[in-house]
């Protein structure tokens, strides 16, 4: 079953999963955006500008960090190669573009994030499916009966753990009560996502390690969890006072 799925969405066809997740996520977000004080048009605009910023920013930042490779073949700046891309840089630019658009349109900060939460949750599902298709984010070796054969070893099906967690988070977000104060939906999503990645990273076989074996992704997730809980507590206090 997994092998059929991996053959069907072998790279570069795994991108279909990501594109489908973006499309479905935006459709779902659009369905409920008005309850967060954001119109469908505003949601579509902020999503479009941010995606455009992601694509353009990712390519430009990649070219800037590898300037010598591009000076010899400048037309490659317009190449369709998706590997000529800086995903982290693209994400930073996307957030920046979205923030600038939100400021200019005077969109409510927490309302905007709440309205985008179904999109983020769906994208997380798409990402885990994409990891499964490509075989990245793979698990560590195991002798458990549900281990899968991947990269010449029996491994934890870490991509399936990730998929189950993201489906669970999506269900909780989608059926979250609709009258919660602004920001709670997004913060719930962040807390659940960081919490699940903190737990599941332990089963990965490709973790970046620091200080004698600690997993970087877990440390980042833990710090993110602290920030989420602090922000959540501070918002609660503001509401109560």
């Amino acid at each position: 079953m997994i092998e059929i799925f991996r053959s069907l969405f072998a790279p570069p066809r795994h991108l279909i999963l990501l594109v489908a997740a973006i499309w479905l996520g935006l459709a779902l977000a659009e369905k409920r955006t008005e309850r967060h004080g954001i119109s469908k048009e505003q949601l579509n605009n902020i999503s479009f500008y941010s995606l455009f910023g992601y694509i353009l920013g990712g390519r430009v930042l990649f070219a800037m960090t590898n300037i010598s490779a591009f000076t010899q073949s400048p037309l490659n700046l317009f190449s369709i190669n998706i590997d000529l891309f800086d995903p982290i840089g693209g994400l930073v630019i996307a957030v920046l573009v979205g923030w600038i658009y939100g400021q200019r349109q005077k969109l409510p900060f927490w309302g905007t994030l709440d309205s985008l939460t179904p999109f983020f949750a769906t994208l997380a599902i798409g990402l885990s499916l994409s990891h499964l298709a490509v075989g990245t984010a793979f698990g560590g070796p195991t002798d458990l009966p549900w281990g899968i054969e991947l990269w010449n070893a029996t491994r934890h099906p870490s991509q399936i753990y990730e998929l189950i967690a993201s489906l669970f988070v999506f269900a909780l977000i989608w059926f979250h009560k609709s009258d919660s104060p602004p920001g709670i939906l997004f913060l719930t999503f962040t807390a659940l996502t960081t919490g699940s990645s903190l737990f599941l990273e332990a089963f990965r076989g490709d973790s970046t390690l620091v200080f004698g074996g600690f997993r970087v992704a877990q440390i980042i997730a833990w710090v993110m969890l602290i920030i989420t809980l602090l922000v959540s507590e501070s918002m609660r206090q503001q509401r109560e006072s």
Partner: protein
């Protein structure tokens, strides 16, 4: 839930999280990277021994210490054909620094008579290897053509690029990475 109860809950969650980080720390470096052979980034490149179009035998493990691009291709594959000139250009730019290209033709699923005319027509200067049995393709779990594996001097796969044609800028960035 009162404020105190909530804060205690948050503190317990964070302490449990910290404990999990400590328990699940990978002190033995159990990450499989660089220890076993697999056609994936971070793993040792699976070894192979194949004949070239000129009859010589090339073994990947004999090239340890050099940066290697293993490119899997076929004459019927449009993107494979399209990237050959770029690969040849960068091969000639970097070969003096210890960069090697092994372009492995998937002969078992190609027309063997079409390989040499194509290489001559393109004027390719790097070695063309022939995978007549499909054993090498199997070891590299070939699913799409072209597939390119950028292998560092330590024999570990630094990057896998599936699909093409690869732009020259992409080739240069990846080659400079494996030459380090």
């Amino acid at each position: 839930m009162t404020t105190i109860q909530r804060r205690i809950t948050y503190a317990i969650i964070l302490i449990l999280g910290l404990a999990w980080i400590l328990i699940s720390a990978d002190r033995s470096g159990a990450s499989t990277a660089g220890k076993i052979y697999a056609p994936q980034q971070g793993f040792l490149a699976p070894d192979f021994e194949l004949k070239t179009t000129t009859g010589e035998t090339v073994k990947l493990s004999d090239l340890r210490g050099q940066a290697v691009l293993v490119n899997l291709w076929a004459t019927w594959c449009g993107p494979c054909r399209a990237e050959m000139q770029s690969i040849d250009k960068v091969y000639n730019e970097y070969k003096d620094q210890g960069f090697v290209v092994l372009a492995v033709n998937m002969t078992y699923q190609d027309d063997p008579l079409a390989v040499i005319p194509f290489v001559n027509e393109q004027g390719l200067t790097f070695p063309i290897l022939l995978d007549e049995s499909g054993k090498m393709a199997n070891a590299y779990q070939l699913r799409s053509l072209p597939s390119s594996f950028f292998i560092g001097r330590d024999g570990i796969i630094n990057e896998v690029v599936i699909g093409g044609p690869m732009a020259e800028a992409l080739l240069r960035t990846r080659i400079e990475e494996i030459l380090k």
